[in-house]
Amino acid sequence: MIKAILIFNNHGKPRLSKFYEHYSEDTEQQIIRETFHLVSKRDENVCNFLEGGMLIGGSDYKLIYRHYATLYFVFCVDSSESELGILDLIQVFVETLDKCFENVCELDLIFHVDKVHNILAEMVMGGMVLETNMNEIIMQVDAQNKMEKSEIKTRHILSCIPQYKIQYHSHHSCHYYGDLTVPLFQCTSRIRDH
């Protein structure tokens, strides 16, 4: 079973945290911090598995993580999950995000936490892997979005380009966002090849 899914950036700022088991608020923050601490000091050329932080639950538990540009994606799982399977699941997740957000970057995750959660909910439900097929996930998310769109249309919103994206694509304001706008997927494609 998957116990938790954490996304944080290179500085340890959480971008998404989803726990499938109950921990107190403080413990959750501690887990995020500890996980970041463990993961961030690892080089690029070491294995993607880490064993048992104390907090998440001892020797039966494993951290499986991938690092994309500015973000770490970490899955905490127990021994009933396949390590390599989860590793590829992370890849599926990021690829899906990339499809949904078009060149996904950290900023997308900041602005659309709820949406990322919804995508995740189609992949993992209550700690169990529900769907691993990217097209299927996107189909489900789209079905919900369609409804969303129809609701929005009735409210006469005119523009259809995300404002923050327009802004960061103009060279003026690039420095405002720093590396928050670095597309994650440039890196994912590299990982895919390797």
């Binding site: 989803k18 070491v46 294995c47 001892g58 396949s82 590829d88 659309h112 936490v113 609701e151 405002y176």
Partner: protein
């Protein structure tokens, strides 16, 4: 795209915290957004962030509670709250609003509401009850998305008590036309199964329907449930094996739609799940395993693509192949696969390869040997995780010979790692190894020192307890004990002279206990010196009060006369006013006892750790005090239960009574870790009423010497001997190692050649030879515990060797009796401790002797295995039936085995022939005599029957047989020597055996002396092994008798055994097997519990209590005989394994 804009706009207010006016936020968004993101990125301190978020939260709070806020605005606010909560700021005020949003919003708002609820709340949160109605409503909705949302939230968390309310609705969804709904319903039910298994018991057949769903997605989802249920009870789902195999076959064969492919691998996650299920089903089950061999082979073959996910499948395949009943072809392929993993340049695969090796090394130690060079490289890998995994692997292959090298590697790692979890785990392992294979005193103590200093105060407390217990109980040799303790004292004194401030508290406690107890062993050491060293610990700033108590306790023991008294007085003065009561008490004790040496000698006799402490649990010495108090008008004592009853009756405050405390000295407390709970609780319960107790007094005294040891006397001794032999064997030189491996395992081809290698390579080989020593020999199967398939192999081979002994060797064997028996015994031990002895022997003569000894030893070993495996009681009925047919005929020499058995059977004394007897096994042979033996189970004894056959052409005179055993009482049934044994005839000697002390296997050694016709005296020695089970007889008792016996027995052990079910109820089936194989008496079976009784000849009872728990049989054995429970549990395991 418009949705994205919408999101952008809604997200804005959360970032523009100071702007509570929504309208203006929208207008100024483009410019202020950038500022804000930059602001957040540029925040330098946690404090600033906190301020910003708190401001944000208070503005949210204001808005959510305003009645004018629309649901749409509420949704935006919720997203902002989610953000704050993620950063770790509590926003509990919003929880109720999240639930409201999920209740009242439109689909879109509802979704955010549900999301917020699932992120904020947990299944025990009280507000969750408010959600039940909403979920109910949404489950009945016609809008699929609403149904999906409800199912999702239900599988994330749902109050356990409310499950029945929605269960029918969720069940109904299993028939929903949309597969996504069916799939989510399956997972929701799985969740219910996890949190409340009994609630979904009735829908198991619906799970089966889900498994057969036409949509592969629904089927995949149902596998989660099956994996879980099969894990809990593999027996219940064997019938599904064929279905799982068929599914896997179809998936592997590419029968699924292309949509399910991932990097052109068909449904890899599904394959992984199926393989896991199959391995659970095929474990310890040959017939089920056979069903899956084909598909596993196919999977291994198909997974050739070079993508991560194929490796994931391969890994599961390999694990499955090694878990199920073995098939050699598959094992070969799987081993090759593991090789690919281990040798892969990809680090993730290497990691998994090591994991796989660790997993299989118990069954196939050769595999580790094959990859030894890679393993050595991994030891120096820059990635700590790889290193750690390598150590785990080495831990599994540790034996008496490589233990020093492996422990050293582990300690090296411990010194660099900073992760608590790893440290605790590894420290425990080092301690385990050091205790299991202590190579010498010095090494043992130093290793434990490192363990204590590195492990510090985080390590498991039983490490220190076991260590102290070991020191205090000692071994059989008094001299050895003394040396070990003396070494510990020396080492600790020098540590205290160094910088004790750096040592962890636990270590200091160990040090003070050891010094208190044993520093007198070092004669040149004044007690006053030790006292001063200890006193230094008391004034150290970082000493905890617990440590100080230990130190004071040690000082009490040491404060005998002379200079010690003054130090003791000084210390006791400073501490007698301590705020800590325990410490104050110790200080007082120190003060008084240091002055009154007579009293001290009585209270704390030297070496008290070993003596049983007599506890007057009736507290009779208080009787005077009690009667005085009663006379003075005090209320009579009432036992706790009575008091509680009265309290309940009077409806007074129902306060729990204080726990009773017992006066037990620190030293005994620290070493009774395993036993004390039962006995102490018993005596504390009894101490209430002293009248009741007088007749039970004997059984309640706290006896320490017979306490069940983790480190059994026997177990230790065996290892001890082997260690000594290892010392003779010496650490093999690097040059020798290849040949050694060659010797040990000829079939194994991957032997490093002796070509000159560069320095580093050379070092590695040296390391390799020291790490993998002992692995090469065939007898190396008793690694860290299990020793499963290999003994079988070994046995068959040994048989061949046994019969192929040439006559000249036989001559040699019997003529040079004394040395060969020595070797024989030696090799017996060697076999036990899996050491390859051959390579270090230099002279060819000795080699031949030894190898001969080895085969002889193999012979006995073989017999023993045969005895335990074969069901002694029901041994070949044909043999018994035949005994009237064959007369005492000279056995044909060419075919000595079976026919001889037949004719020897006829020699069985008449009074024994009706009883069941074991197979007749040859003991030894020389040029004129052939000895065989069997044992006969009588009701109250065991009879060993030795058959002496004269195989020469002339008569033999004056045959005397002497039989002896350490563990047995042997009495000869007819002790007159056989005066003459004619050519080609047989004589029989009988011995009645009873067990003196239990041991897993009992060995009888004996010698036959006789005169050749020429008058030359000859002697042949032999040994015969008996399993303990042949001494076990049923003990017929009633349940009541059982109950009273149970309480009276002091020695116990607990273990989980595997359950057997042959179609009938598992408990009954398992007990029947035990009854049949071990002759136990099943007293009664009540529901999931059963009680069983047996006795060891003569009349040494052992009781067994069994309970079915979580798919295993939890067994608790009790007996008045110290080692009996342990030995018996071993045989129970064997009996069930063999079944």
């Amino acid at each position: 795209m418009s949705d994205v804009v919408e999101k952008t706009l809604t997200a804005l207010p959360s970032l523009l915290s100071f702007d509570s006016q929504l309208g203006s936020a929208k207008l100024s968004s483009t410019s202020k957004l950038g500022n804000l993101i930059r602001g957040i990125t540029e925040l330098t301190s946690k404090h600033e962030e906190e301020k910003l978020i708190q401001r944000e939260l208070s503005s949210i709070k204001e808005q959510v509670s305003s009645p004018n806020t629309t649901m749409r605005q509420m949704k935006e606010l919720m997203v902002r709250t989610i953000y704050c909560e993620m950063l770790g700021y509590e926003a509990s005020f919003s929880y109720i609003h999240a639930i409201k949003l999920a209740q009242q919003g439109t689909v879109l708002e509802k979704r955010v509401g549900y999301l917020a609820v699932s992120l904020f709340l947990n299944e025990s949160h009280e507000l969750l009850l408010l959600l039940v109605n909403t979920v109910l409503k949404d489950l009945q909705s016609t809008n699929l998305i609403e149904v999906c949302m409800a199912l999702t939230v239900v599988s994330q968390m749902f109050p356990k008590d409310m499950i029945p309310a929605i269960l029918p609705l969720v069940e109904e969804k299993l028939n929903h036309p949309k597969e996504i709904i069916r799939r989510k319903a399956v997972l929701a039910l799985y969740k219910f199964y996890l949190i409340a298994p009994n609630q979904v018991q009735h829908i198991h057949n619906k799970f089966r329907k889900a498994l057969c769903d036409k949509d592969p997605g629904v089927m995949t989802a149902s596998l989660h449930i099956y994996l879980q249920m099969i894990q809990e009870n593999p027996e219940g789902y064997k019938d599904l094996t064929v279905s799982f195999v068929t599914i896997l076959k179809q998936v592997v064969g590419g029968k699924l739609p292309m949509d399910f492919n991932y990097h052109s691998v068909p449904a890899p996650w599904l394959q992984i799940q199926l393989l896991r299920i199959l391995s659970l089903l095929g474990k310890n089950d040959q017939s089920t395993s056979e069903l899956m061999h084909e598909v596993l082979d196919e999977s291994l073959r198909r997974a050739e693509m070079n993508h991560n996910i194929t490796y994931a499948i391969l890994y599961e395949c390999v694990k499955c192949v090694y878990t199920i009943h073995p098939k050699s072809e598959l094992l070969e392929k799987a081993a090759k696969c593991i090789g690919n993993f281990v040798l892969s340049p990809k680090i993730n695969l290497k990691y998994l390869g090591l994991k796989a090796l660790t997993y299989v090394v118990q069954q196939d130690p050769k595999l580790a040997l094959q990859h030894q060079m890679t393993i050595i490289e991994c030891l120096d890998h820059p990635d700590l995780i790889i290193k750690r995994e390598t150590l785990e692997l080495l831990f599994r292959i540790t034996n008496a010979q490589n233990v020093t090298v492996i422990v050293e590697k582990m300690l090296d790692f411990l010194r660099i790692t900073k992760d608590d979890h790893t440290t605790i785990d590894l420290v425990g392992k080092v301690a385990e190894l050091a205790e299991k294979y202590p190579s010498d005193n010095e090494w043992f103590i130093e290793t434990m020192n490192t363990v204590f200093s590195v492990g510090g105060d985080t390590m498991q407390p039983d490490i220190t307890n076991n260590f102290l217990k070991l020191l205090s109980e000692g071994f059989d040799s008094v001299e050895e004990d003394r040396k070990l303790r003396l070494f510990a004292v020396n080492s600790y004194v020098s540590l205290l002279r160094g910088e004790p401030g750096k040592l962890p508290q636990r270590f200091l406690q160990v040090i003070s206990w050891v010094l208190g107890e044993y520093s007198h062993l070092r004669e040149d050491l004044e007690p006053a010196t030790v006292l001063r060293l200890l006193a230094k610990l008391l004034v150290m700033k970082n000493s905890s009060s617990e440590t100080k108590t230990w130190v004071l306790m040690a000082m009490i023991k040491l404060s005998a006369g002379g200079a010690g008294v003054s130090v003791a007085q000084e210390v006791s003065e400073t501490h007698s006013s301590s705020l800590d009561t325990v410490m104050r008490q110790r200080a007082q004790e120190l003060q008084h006892l240091s002055q009154d040496s007579e009293l001290r000698a009585r209270v704390l006799p030297r070496g008290a750790g070993m003596q049983p402490v007599e506890v007057d649990s009736s507290l009779s010495f208080l009787d005077g005090f009690v009667s005085e108090a009663l006379a003075a008008g005090a209320a009579p004592y009432k036992p706790p239960h009575q008091r509680q009853e009265e309290l309940a009756q009077t409806k007074a405050l129902s306060l729990e009574p204080y726990a009773l405390s017992l006066p037990i000295s620190m030293s005994s407390c620290s070493i009774t870790d395993r036993q004390s709970p039962t006995l102490l609780s018993m005596s504390s319960g009894l101490s209430g009423d002293s009248t009741d107790l007088s007749h039970k007094g004997g059984s309640t005294t706290l006896k320490l010497d017979g306490v069940k040891r983790v480190w059994g006397r026997e177990g230790y001794l065996a290892q001890r001997e082997s260690v000594e032999e290892a010392a003779q064997v010496e650490v093999p030189s690097p040059l020798m190692s290849p040949s050694q491996q060659g010797e040990g395992d000829r079939s194994h081809s991957q032997i490093p050649t002796l070509t000159p290698t560069p320095e580093s390579e050379h070092e590695k080989q040296q390391l390799a030879s020291s790490l993998f020593v002992g692995l090469a020999s065939q007898s190396s199967v008793c690694l860290m515990g299990k020793s499963e398939p290999a003994p079988q192999r070994f046995r068959r081979k040994a048989k061949g060797q046994c019969t192929s002994l040439s006559t000249s060797e036989q001559m040699f064997n019997s003529l040079v009796c004394p040395p060969s028996t020595v070797d024989n015994l030696l090799c017996n031990n060697l076999l036990d401790s899996n050491i390859t002895a051959e390579p270090v022997l230099s002279s060819p003569e000795r080699t031949s002797q030894l190898s001969q000894g080895l085969t002889a030893a193999n012979g006995t070993c073989d017999m023993e295995a045969g005895l335990t495996d074969s069901d002694v009681k029901g041994s070949n009925p044909a043999l018994i039936g035949d005994d009237c047919v064959v007369a005492a005929d000279p056995a044909p020499h060419e075919d000595p085995n079976r026919p001889e058995d037949l004719c020897l059977t006829s020699h069985l004394p008449a009074e024994l022939s009706g009883l069941s007897h074991s197979e007749i096994t040859p003991l030894c042979t020389d040029q004129s005599l052939h000895l065989s033996a069997c044992h006969v189970l009588k009701e109250d004894s065991l009879v060993l029957v030795v058959f002496i056959t004269n195989s020469s052409d002339s008569a033999i005179q004056q045959i005397r047989v002497q039989v002896d055993s350490e563990e047995l009482e042997v009495c000869c049934v007819c002790d007159s020597p056989v005066e003459e044994l004619r050519s080609h005839s047989a004589a029989v000697c009988q011995y009645s055996l009873t067990a003196k002390k239990p041991s897993v296997h009992i060995e009888v050694v004996g010698m036959v002396s006789y005169l050749l016709p020429a008058g030359t005296p000859q002697a042949v020695q032999f040994s015969y092994k008996l399993p303990l089970s042949s001494f076990i007889r049923p003990l017929t008792v009633s349940t009541e008798e059982y109950g009273s016996m149970w309480l009276a027995f002091a020695h116990d052990t607990k273990q989980n055994l595997t359950l057997i079910s042959d179609g009938q109820e598992p408990l009954t089936a398992t007990l029947n097997v035990l009854k049949k194989k071990l002759q136990l008496h099943v007293v009664e079976i009540i529901g999931v519990e059963g009680i069983v009784a047996c006795r060891l000849l003569q009349d040494q009872p052992c009781l067994m209590h069994c309970r079915v728990h979580a798919g295993t049989l939890a067994v608790w054995l009790r007996s008045p005989i110290p080692d009996l429970p342990d030995c018996l549990i071993y045989h129970c395991q064997r009996a069930l394994q063999g079944h």
